[in-house]
């Protein structure tokens, strides 16, 4: 049974932003620092991609009927789309392992491309893969770009297959299998996708603001098991996965300097997503939201007033940037302390951000669960 939940839009924004930022940072389009889309950590996509770039694309402007497995596949009529998988795992010794695998799709134009030249695809892809291994204390990350040439990259709904060269997430028998590598790290994880699909927002229409929205669904709590190689020797791992799917044509608004996003899988069976968009003016963004799914599967939307996110410890990297790697979440009367399993889980990719595995503790330090934390827009030291 599909449950419809009202969920935040922030994460959609950040991922779309990340993709475009990653490429624009390389294009050298910005003539001056002030015009850079990355200037001051702000997301100023509108200054780079004008409205004309949106012409011809489909818009997420009304609820739609989701159809599965077809909607696991691509929606090329929309400008942007992503498949976002995070895994919180543990090996046989109980040591934590986190995995992030993401594929972004972006259309350069809505124009029809002659089909007789496969290189002339207007679809481009970016994939990120990262492994956090607490046993070795290593966070290994890599990224790949590809254009929509079928010999390089693509997504197919049935049977499901997503590939960017030899990075793959594909349906194999009863499971989806993730195979990817980054440096010395390699994973082969099977995912039992027979889990509840949660339509976010209004029947899957996630509103981002006036006239802005995306289609968005999630699959939290996916049982996962497989092997990981960090130093050549395979280790069996087991845990939970979380898949987010979103597609849209909308742009971000000005005024945001970054975001802090949490996806926590608690040991008592509850799943918590919460995020805050940090605004330049310091005000809380009205789209700060969250969702708490109970162990019984019942989801409760969270508004900004339902929770607070407070950083409790910063880690300063070699560039002098302070990253908030420990947090306290107040959810009504409940207090959750969220602590990075490794301080340095920055993504060594074109995009400057931090995304990594976290442990969830109670106020006495007892473990309550695990999850993923994403931090963007941090590019300076915090004033003490």
């Amino acid at each position: 049974m599909v449950r419809l939940e009202q969920v935040s839009l922030g994460r959609a924004r950040l991922r779309l932003a990340s993709l475009v930022m990653a490429m624009l940072a390389q294009f050298g389009c910005a003539e001056t620092p002030d015009e850079s889309p990355l200037s001051g950590g702000q997301l100023r996509l509108g200054s780079v991609l004008g409205e004309t770039a949106l012409a011809g694309f489909a818009r997420a402007d009304a609820p739609r009927r989701f159809e599965f497995p077809a909607d696991h596949g691509p929606h090329p009529a929309f400008r942007s789309e992503w498949w976002y998988l995070t895994l919180v795992l543990a090996d046989e010794s109980g040591r934590d392992v986190g995995v992030q695998f993401t594929l972004f799709r972006q259309a350069l134009s809505a124009a029809d491309i002659p089909a007789d030249n496969r290189w002339q695809s207007n679809q481009i892809y970016l994939a990120h893969f990262a492994v956090t291994d607490t046993a070795t204390g290593v966070h290994q990350a890599d990224e790949r770009f590809a254009r929509g040439h079928p010999s390089l990259v693509g997504v197919r709904a049935e049977p499901f297959r997503l590939w960017l060269e030899d990075w793959r997430l594909e349906e194999v028998g009863e499971v989806w299998r993730l195979q990817a590598d980054a440096g010395e790290a390699r994973v082969e994880i099977d995912l039992d996708m027979a889990v509840r699909i949660v339509l976010q927002g209004e029947s899957g229409l996630s509103r981002k603001g006036p006239g802005q929205a995306s289609y968005y669904y999630s699959m939290p709590g996916i049982p996962a098991a497989g092997r990981i190689w960090m130093d050549g020797e395979p280790r069996a791992v087991r845990g939970l996965g979380w898949l987010d799917r979103e597609w849209s044509t909308s742009l971000l608004s000005d005024g945001q300097v970054g975001w802090d996003w949490f996806a926590l899988q608690l040991d008592d069976g509850r799943r918590l997503m919460a995020f805050q968009l940090r605004r330049r003016d310091g005000a809380r963004d009205p789209y700060d939201q969250g969702m708490l799914v109970g162990a019984d599967g019942v989801a409760r939307p969270l508004e900004a007033s339902d929770f607070t996110l407070l950083p409790t410890r910063y880690w300063r990297d070699s560039d002098g940037t302070d990253w908030p790697v420990a947090w306290r979440i107040r959810l009504g009367q409940e207090v959750l302390d969220v602590v990075a399993v490794l301080d340095d889980q920055r993504m060594a990719t074109s995009i400057r951000y931090w995304e990594g595995m976290v442990a969830v503790l109670d106020d006495e330090g007892r473990r309550l669960g695990q999850g993923y934390l994403e931090l963007t827009g941090y590019d300076g030291a915090v004033d003490e």
């Binding site: 490429m23 390389q26 294009f27 050298g28 389009c29 350069l108 134009s109 124009a111 491309i113 002659p114 007789d116 030249n117 496969r118 290189w119 002339q120 695809s121 207007n122 481009i124 892809y125 790949r144 770009f145 590809a146 254009r147 010999s151 390089l152 060269e165 030899d166």
Partner: protein
């Protein structure tokens, strides 16, 4: 320690002339290094535009016969599986010519960071260079339709359009399976080291010919080698770097020699200091510290002098004479200047200290070096085809000569007491004394003579090579430049109509049309030229008759790069062309393949002609007619082409002559220093001669005879060494560096300049004052231990 340092500094003050010679020698050597660095940087900056920014970082190109995209995807899969060690990115490349110029298509998302600049290009959009004369939004014609200039980018060569690979395939009328090469980014540790060494010594990678990538089944070409202009220029840079180092080697010999002399002159003082409890290590440390000080001062002076020298020489640099950009003084320059000065001073001083402490032990580093160089030289000559191997052979020849010098002096010493030398003896006592003084101190003079021999031999070798080159170059001009008037248009121009009009002019007997197109063979960019062949045109390329249809001519450089010889078959657009002949192309960095018009048409080349050659009774009339019909065209007559070519040729070697001269000056300074020390040693004998009634003039004559002896000995050794080095330059270095071979011509003129240089150096050294204040502490008495065990 402080006292010891002051003591050593005081010695420098008491021995000002030898101190000055060290400063001067090292300064000149550093200026040589600095000048080469600055000129190289100017060349590197000017060459940067040869590589499209979108290919920045690509270190190699892969190619093989019948290359398709399937090969690329298979190779990518192998790379992703970890089979291609050190490779960090692969990128497909398609290139060809459209009417607007050369079109290069790459995949922006293949993983080569620089290529991402193409990412926002829509289908049918291209990037053009800022200097292309085009404007954003302009549409330009291509075989598959038209292309829009999306934007202008700095650094892109003016004749090049860069675009997405799909757009390039469509514009060139090729399928989406078409592929010309695969660009590779290698980030192996060895590659990083080579990149670093290339910064330290521009052109280094061209010299070593070391392949950091080997993929069975694929032809691997270094990125620079795939672009002939780059490969050519880097070879020039390597040659300049090698020549610039010559002065450094000579300066090192100078420092070593001066250090030995200083240590002996201070022998008494040092002995007293040891008796006072100063350790050997402390004495050595202080000595080296003060040499270091001299090195640092010299490096500063050398930077100033070298930068000035570079500014003067840059304008006439070979092949880049038009407008070399200016460059600023960078940290690499300081590193090289300071490093070379310090290295020369410390190593020279340290070896001298070792020799003085233990004469037998002091010889092993030299033996090790010359034995190593000998092995490297033989290997480089016979088994290694790299430029570095060729220079190792030259270095080995030089070192062998250096090693032979004490033995030659010893032999002359024995001859000096035999009847054969009585003729000299009969000329007078003074001559006998002068020559005897030279021969009786081979242990020290041999170092100075060795430095002079090296500089002179290099001068002889360069003169031999340049003269040989000039003869071959003139022969090529005689053969190739046979028409009266030459008209050159822009690459995408078609001068067919103009040719028809010129043909109709009275007195014009022939109009020869030349066209060209770019093609890629084995990862190298080749210009395919075409014209209508007959016996006269065939003669321009050394054929007895015309070029038979279905056959091709290749330039010597292309033949060498692809290991082609007459009779071999080269495949072009699926058609096989046997090679009729290989023609020389001195001074031309382009890889060329020449076809008859009919064959060019058969392989699908558009017969557009951008250059014309005209035979006419009235040259001026033709020039006027061209100027009237197409004022933008470049027109030259035969005599001006020849004069211009020879002028450029002569300018080309101005830098090498200047560098050789620097080394010669440093050697002369070293020789002066050695003679100065010898003069001090001979002061008691001078007093004896004086008491016997010799005049100051006669005493100067003794010194002059000594100098003449040194000069003759140096020439005796330098001439054969120069001959060997000249042969190596013609037969080994030039083919390896530039792809052309030269016939060594033993023109007398080749020896005149070096011999005159040697005589001039001797004259200057002989006439230079030998100041009495150089006696230093201990004076001549302490210097009694000067020569040591000869």
């Amino acid at each position: 320690m402080k006292l010891l340092t002051l003591s050593q500094l005081r010695f420098f003050r008491l021995a000002p002339w030898s101190t000055l010679t060290v400063l001067l020698g090292v300064t000149l050597a550093v200026s040589s290094i600095v000048a080469v660095h600055q000129i190289s940087q100017r060349v590197v900056v000017s060459l940067a535009s040869v590589t499209p920014p979108q290919l920045a970082g690509v270190t190699h190109q892969l190619s093989r016969a019948d290359l398709t995209m399937a090969d690329y995807f298979q190779l990518r899969a192998r790379w992703r599986a970890g089979e291609l060690e050190g490779v960090s990115a692969l990128m497909p490349i398609v290139e060809g010519s459209v009417e607007a110029g050369r079109l290069l298509g790459v995949d922006a998302f293949s993983g080569v960071p620089a290529a991402l600049g193409l990412a926002l290009l829509l289908p049918d959009q291209v990037l053009a260079g800022e200097t292309s004369g085009r404007v954003a939004g302009e549409r330009i014609l291509a075989a598959g339709g038209s292309l829009e200039v999306a934007r202008l980018v700095p650094g892109l060569p003016e004749n090049l359009l860069v675009t997405d690979i799909g757009t390039a395939q469509v514009a060139l009328g090729r399928s989406d399976d078409a592929l010309d090469a695969i660009g590779v980014v290698v980030r192996a540790p060895s590659q990083r080291l080579i990149d670093w060494l290339d910064r330290l010594m521009p052109g280094f990678s061209a010299g070593i010919g070391f392949q950091t990538l080997d993929i069975p089944g694929w032809t691997v070409t270094e990125a620079a080698a795939s672009e002939p202009t780059l490969a050519f220029s880097r070879s020039v840079l390597f040659n300049l770097g090698a020549l610039g180092s010559l002065a450094l080697v000579v300066a090192w010999l100078l420092v070593y020699q001066v250090s030995v002399i200083w240590l002996r002159r201070r022998a008494m003082t040092l002995k007293r200091l040891r008796q006072m409890g100063v350790s050997e290590a402390e004495l050595r440390r202080v000595f080296l510290l003060n040499l270091l000080l001299l090195g640092l001062v010299s490096s500063g002076l050398g930077i100033l002098l070298g930068d000035w020298l570079a500014g003067g020489l840059a304008g006439i640099a070979t092949g880049f004479s038009d407008a070399l950009p200016t460059v600023s003084v960078d940290h690499w320059l300081f590193l090289k200047a300071t490093g070379s000065a310090v290295l020369v001073c410390l190593v020279g001083g340290w070896l001298a200290c070792r020799r003085e402490a233990d004469p037998a032990a002091g010889k092993w580093p030299f033996r090790l070096v010359w034995l190593g160089l000998l092995v490297a030289g033989i290997y480089g000559l016979l088994f290694d085809g790299s430029l570095l191997g060729g220079f190792a052979a030259i270095a080995a020849a030089g070192v062998l000569t250096l090693v032979a010098i004490p033995r030659v002096l010893g032999g002359l010493k024995r001859l000096a007491v035999r009847p054969a030398t009585r003729y000299v003896a009969r000329r007078g006592l003074l001559a006998r004394i002068g020559l005897r003084e030279m021969l009786w101190h081979p242990g020290d003079l041999s170092v100075a003579i060795g430095a002079l021999v090296l500089a002179l031999a290099t001068s002889v070798a360069m003169a031999l090579m340049v003269d040989s080159f000039r003869l071959d170059f003139e022969a090529m001009l005689d053969q190739r430049v046979v028409h009266d008037v030459f008209v050159r248009g822009e690459r995408d121009q078609n001068l067919n109509e103009l040719a028809d009009r010129l043909q109709a002019l009275p007195g014009v007997s022939r109009v020869q049309r030349y066209g060209r197109a770019d093609r890629t063979f084995s990862g190298r960019r080749v210009v395919v030229g075409f014209t209508r062949f007959d016996a006269r045109e065939g003669g321009r390329y050394g054929l007895d008759g015309t070029l038979p249809q279905g056959q091709a001519l290749v330039s010597e450089r292309l033949a060498r790069d692809l290991a082609l010889a007459p009779g071999d078959v080269i495949e072009l657009e699926a058609m096989a062309f046997p090679i009729a002949a290989v023609f020389p192309g001195y001074g031309d960095s382009t890889l060329r393949l020449i076809l008859d018009d009919a064959d060019a048409a058969r392989i699908g080349l558009s017969l557009r002609y951008d250059r014309l050659s005209i035979d006419a009774d009235d040259e001026a009339g033709v020039v006027a007619a061209v100027a009237q019909a197409a004022p933008d065209l470049e027109v030259q007559v035969r005599s001006s082409i020849r004069a211009e070519a020879l002028k450029i040729f002569d300018q080309t070697f101005a830098i090498t002559r200047a560098l050789t001269l620097l080394a010669l000056i440093v050697a002369s300074v070293g020789l002066y220093n050695a003679l100065l020390a010898l003069e001090l040693l001979q002061q008691p004998a001078r007093r004896l001669l004086h008491s016997m009634g010799t005049t100051p003039l006669e005493q100067r004559l003794v010194a002059a005879y000594r100098v003449v002896g040194v000069g003759l000995t140096a020439l005796l050794l330098a001439l054969p060494l120069g001959l060997v080095m000249g042969w190596l330059l013609c037969a080994v270095i030039n083919p390896r560096a530039f792809g052309w071979s030269l016939s060594l011509a033993l023109s007398p003129g080749s020896f005149v300049w070096p011999v005159l240089s040697a005589m001039l150096a001797m004259l200057v050294v002989g006439l230079a004052p030998l100041p009495s204040e150089e006696a230093g502490e201990g004076g001549a008495l302490e210097a009694g231990a000067f020569d040591g065990p000869a």
